[in-house]
Amino acid sequence: MIAGLRRVLRGIREHLYFFAVSTGVIASALVLLGLFAMVVRDVNDMVASWQADQHVSAYFAAGVTPEVEAQVQALISQRREVAKVELVTSADAATWMTAKAPDVAPVLKELGPDALPASLEITLQPDDTSPERMSAFVQSLKATASPGAATGTLWEDVDYGQDWVARVHTFLSLLEALGVAFGIATVVATLFLVANTIHLVVHARQDELAILRLVGATERYIIGPFIAEGVLQGLIGGAMATGVLYGIHEGLLVRLHNLLALAMGTPPTFLPGAQVVVLVGTGVALGAGAAWGAVRRFLAGLP
């Protein structure tokens, strides 16, 4: 164990430049992966906020009593696809409208307390926000009969912003395809970058491999220190990448938050601890795996 550790440290000391280059390349590759993970995370937050904005506004017809409105709210809130139902009374609607557009306040006052219809603002479960499902929900909502002894039309109008929903879903499909393509490209670039760098580093040490073989070293004996160096490179590279990503997050993304917030609705967030661990673990796996592959390939060609 101690002898093995000594061999690892000696290998690093003798080839410090190569060790630094390998570590730097792993760190760069992890920054690339980490940036991708951060973008995916922020886009997911953005999509979630968009989806939360998708809701159905069901306006009660004139003459529907507050008791019936409350009964209908309770009825709809029990449906599986409904996440949240909020009752907006005529007075609430007038207050909201007055706050948004003070100029219309006198007109509303003139029209009386029931100028704006009461409504239910219905938020659906995330899985039920596709254009097809929302349309189906709206159709079933329109067909809802008045509870109890009430008769007549329940709704004046049911609106869910059909055009907006369709556009959001088209955009999300495109975003998903781009995400997959960019993700694959990032992973391939990362693997290519790290594998080729470590291959070149091992190539530069091929005399050492050949000599070890000639004095009777087993493959395990030869490969072991290279894998240990790869693990160390991955750990150091992972720590460096985390630092760089945090710097990018704090120095760039957070400062751009005011601009981004308009489009995203949510502030950019740094990778959670679990994802940082995965990032460093990926670095360790990359370093060790690339070293193992490169040394194995060279040993296969040695007598």
Partner: protein, 233 residues
């Protein structure tokens, strides 16, 4: 000690070795000679498992080594010292570290390494040079470090592929004298060389190869006093 039976080694159409059968007894010192391309290095490579014969059989200490896998080849090499024309040292390491390499791969404890490395360096006349970097040594000194590394494990067999090929006459003589000293300690030594002068000066049994075929086996002659027998070959 070493038995070769009808060894053939082919590279495509070319036969590097053709039906070579040799018996090497324990404690022998043998030159393998012949012109360039005669098959000297190929024969040595087969002996240390770097090449597998196309046909034939080779026994080392009774063990058939023609079918060994890579792991067993590594074990075989731990019982053999190998010396090359180009020394094959790690230039960034010290003399002691280069020699210790052969002990480290067999997992020798540190105290054993500290005891045996200076002893091996003493045999090759490099005592006191332990901390010198290999790259700072002359060619002759580097070859002596390579020999020390080859013998530090006290191997039964020492294989030398043109060990004097990169050295001038005086250093070549020194290297052969060191090999003779190692041989006197009981090690079987096989030296591939085309240096006729050295073979005349230090006469031993000679296996002569010609176009991959063993053309003759010559018993040791008396030491030559001819003018070209000064080891400058």
């Amino acid at each position: 000690m070493i038995r070769l039976y009808h060894i053939v080694k082919s590279y495509g159409e070319h036969d590097a070795l053709r039906d070579v059968s040799v018996h090497v007894e324990k404690g022998e010192f043998i030159y393998i000679t012949g012109p360039s391309g005669a098959g000297k290095s190929t024969l040595l490579k087969i002996l240390y498992g770097a090449e597998k014969p196309s046909s034939g059989k080779m026994l080392v200490g009774g063990l058939d080594v023609t079918t060994l896998d890579r792991e067993r080849v590594a074990q075989l090499r731990r019982n053999m010292g190998i010396v090359f024309q180009d020394f094959k040292l790690l230039p960034r390491r010290t003399v002691a570290d280069n020699v210790a390499l052969a002990l480290e791969v067999v997992g020798a404890p540190r105290e054993q390494i500290e005891r045996r490395v200076p002893a091996a360096l003493n045999i090759v006349g490099l005592k006191g040079r332990e901390t010198s970097l290999a790259s700072h040594l002359s060619g002759g000194e580097q070859q002596r470090v390579a020999i020390a590394r080859a013998i530090v494990n006290d191997p039964a067999v020492l294989l030398c592929d043109e060990p004097t090929g990169n050295l001038d006459g005086g250093m070549a003589v020194e290297v052969i004298e060191i090999l003779q000293a190692i041989h006197r300690r009981g090690t079987t030594v096989l030296v591939a060389t085309h240096d006729q002068g050295l073979m005349n000066r230090f006469p031993k049994r000679i296996l002569r190869l010609q176009d991959g075929k063993l053309s003759s086996t010559e018993a040791p002659k008396r030491r030559s006093l001819a003018p070209n027998g000064d080891g400058r070959g």
